[in-house]
């Protein structure tokens, strides 16, 4: 667990590391709130008011980070990937985001370009979240 472990510190760190944009966060939280519903690309595009291609990228990104998982191949659908630690964290993210939407949106927009974050992230040996540890 990272310290200091204030709830908002943990949420901020998660968002800074795993969330590429505000639509990514909205998509994740949408999938979380409606779990275990499976979402298709078009459904997500409609709900987020974004083009289908962007929705596809967002869902692919979230799946790559093991936040959601692909359930069917065609049509491609995703649902929330549950684990105890992750559930707790996402629930926290959800309530924090509802409460502090402006601060979090600003925080997402203010940080470094994603190429740099991916560069830094590449040097993590284990890229999946450690679900078993601690």
């Amino acid at each position: 667990m990272p310290e200091p472990n204030t709830p908002s510190g943990e949420v901020d760190q998660f968002i800074l590391e795993q969330i590429d944009s505000v639509p990514h966060l909205e998509a994740l939280l949408l999938i979380w709130r409606t779990r275990p519903k499976s979402w298709s690309i078009n459904e997500m595009a409609k709900s987020l008011y974004v083009p289908a291609e962007l929705a596809e990228n967002i869902l692919r990104d979230l799946a790559q980070r093991n936040l959601i998982e692909e359930v069917t191949k065609s049509p491609r659908e995703y649902h929330y990937l549950s684990s105890r630690d992750q559930d707790r964290l996402i629930a926290l993210v959800d309530t924090t985001y509802r409460r502090e939407l402006i601060r979090i949106s600003r925080m997402i927009h203010a940080r470094a370009p994603s190429a740099l974050r991916e560069f830094a992230r590449a040097f993590r040996f284990t890229r999946e979240k450690d679900k078993e540890k601690e």
Partner: protein, 88 residues
């Protein structure tokens, strides 16, 4: 000979520029990984420039490879540190 010196100069300057880019990235991201890469490339740039004086048979020179060793260790340490912090 001139070609080799030229190539050496190209490497030195590119390492210098790369180092500066990484320092810029460090300022943007506050991630010390970029600082480490920046320093490593700047060290290598300086190393290459100093090498110019020796021209040939330089890579067996202890000073040259010890400095390079330092650059590698800085990078390795940065990578290990990133993973240690990630799993804390």
């Amino acid at each position: 000979m001139i070609v080799n010196a030229f190539l050496l100069g190209v490497i030195a300057l590119s390492s210098l520029v790369a180092g500066v880019f990484f320092l810029k990235f460090w300022r943007q991201t506050h991630d010390s990984l970029f600082l480490s890469f920046g320093i490593a490339f700047l060290i290598e740039a300086a190393n290459r420039i100093v090498t110019l004086q020796d021209a040939r048979m330089n890579e067996g020179n202890p000073w040259h490879y010890l400095v390079r060793l330092i650059a590698f260790i800085i990078i390795l340490a940065a990578i290990l540190r990133k993973n240690y912090e990630a799993s804390r």
